[in-house]
Symmetry: C2
Subunit: 312 residues, 2 copies
């Protein structure tokens, strides 16, 4: 086995990464001749720059950031999807009484990074809310700490993660305003989590991308078929992921793992329109350059003799 292959996560290792962690633990990457090292970013906003600069082999990043990165001339390409449309929005304690978007007036609103702020400001404009009537505060992915420490009243988080964490740690009722509902997007696909690579590195070794996705696909299959055992494996690899809260997060994640790993054309189109609307992409920007389904395996097995009708 040769050099290490580096995968930079979009966050600290957690149930979102179950298919990857399971594939690593069960040796699927080794089977694919990939000696994988998982890296956790201390600031998730760094991922596209580091992948774009070719400093790591593969990264995980939201669809909207992948488009934004290319618009900023970081040559990243999505080679597949890990998580389809996780539900994202403004989470808060019910006691904060943020029940509709206009309730953010007079409140402190946490956002993850630059584009999150753009999204909030644009939604405010759309809803006819003065941008000086609320205070936006950068909190990264640590929105739960920020709410519990009373640094913000609400902030952007995932419904199947930070909202559960907030409810568990506060032992209080919570609420969420879904961004897709605020904007009428029809999906939360802008925050679908993609596998991204530097374009040049990809072209130099497409075999690695294919083998990586094949091994990951085996991991997805395992998680879907054996969720109980998959959760145990997470806890064996990362003891801090044991316990009821992470188990609940894990169960709430199950509907969101992409079972095919395919980039979803329809979602890319929506998000591309959204980035244009937000002014993130220049004229002449080509959405088709942002992703490719060429490297995603048709199915996760290599030892099957297919029926004639199934040969593609």
């Amino acid at each position: 086995m040769s050099r290490r292959t580096t995968l930079l996560l979009n966050w600290y290792a957690n149930p979102y990464h179950a298919p990857i962690i399971v594939s690593k633990t069960l040796g699927y990457y080794s089977d694919a001749e990939i000696n994988l090292a998982l890296l956790e970013p201390s600031d998730p906003s760094d991922v596209t720059e580091i992948v774009g600069g070719g400093r790591v082999d593969i990264g995980l990043k939201a669809m909207i950031h992948t488009i934004a990165a290319r618009a900023q001339r970081f040559p990243v390409v999505s080679i597949g999807t890990l998580i389809d449309e996780p539900i994202t929005g403004l989470i808060s304690l019910k006691s904060a009484e943020i029940n509709k978007f206009s309730d953010i007036q007079g409140k402190r609103v946490g956002y993850v990074g630059h584009f999150g702020k753009r999204i909030i400001d644009n939604l405010a404009e759309h809803a006819g809310i003065d941008q000086n009537s609320y205070t936006a505060i950068r909190v990264g992915m640590n929105v739960v700490d920020a709410i519990l420490d009373r640094r913000v009243d609400t902030g952007i988080g995932f419904g199947n993660f930070q909202q559960i964490e907030l409810a568990t740690r506060s032992n209080q009722e919570t609420s969420m305003l879904r961004i897709d509902q605020l904007a009428g997007l029809g999906c939360c696909c802008f925050c679908s989590i993609q596998f991204i690579m530097n374009q040049q590195a990809l072209e130099a070794d497409v075999g690695m991308a294919q083998r990586f996705l094949l091994a990951t696909r085996r991991g997805v299959d395992f998680v879907i078929q054996n969720p109980e055992r998959a959760f145990e494996l997470l806890g064996e690899e990362f003891p801090r992921l044991r316990g009821d809260m992470h188990k609940k997060i894990f169960v709430h994640m199950l509907p969101f793992f992409s079972r095919t790993l395919l980039n979803v054309e329809r979602d890319w189109q929506k998000v591309f329109k959204y980035t244009k609307h937000l002014g993130l992409t220049p004229d002449g920007f080509r959405m088709e350059d942002c992703y490719s389904n060429e490297y995603v395996p048709e199915e996760p097995y290599s030892d099957i003799k297919p029926l004639a009708c199934c040969v593609t």
Copy 2:
């Protein structure tokens, strides 16, 4: 509220139908001005004929049966997807030692209905197994009873349902040979569960189809966002669905509910090729007549002012 709308399930009511049961219990169908009656078939093989004959308004049936029904001139159309590619295969007790397909020789193999037998015989031919070397026995959806009563050694069932039921009721280890792996299909999409309607009835009242799918989509969203509460609601509506076994089945179902309800073009193409291969469809048969995504809602809310970029 006017006449009853009838929905004929593909099986007895169970966790597979969670989005529908939840939508009914929470009044989403009433909100959509649909007074829904759920009907359970005593023989699932009857569904396409009853829907095709216009005797019920909506039915649930597998993708492959929808194509087969149209090939037999039952004018059914899929208006959406409830369950995407549930994993299907030959399930058995580990003690039956059915570890590869050729192990069915000398064994009794349970199948659901006519097409299930065609699939098994075709797989046997593909694997070079004499069709007289095993005994195919029709067991409908009751493969678990048939195995526990020793009427069959193995039979076709869902990995996220009957395999769990078999393991729980026998308190033994089980195994499964996935049909997609045996055939190299690359997916279990032939058994994706579709909402089907009689074409003429659909054309006479497209509004009902749209309202039905919108209400169902709300139910899917609820199940995905509140799985714990959704499971409680199932038990309130059908007390026999309470308990650990059905809870496990419910959790294992979560990845398989279609979150968009869309018919998946790629899967229809695969299954169409498979039905051709099995000799189920005549020359000149048009796959495009089998389904339509015209009635699926873009998103499950009607009270949102969308951003300009999101108006389709």
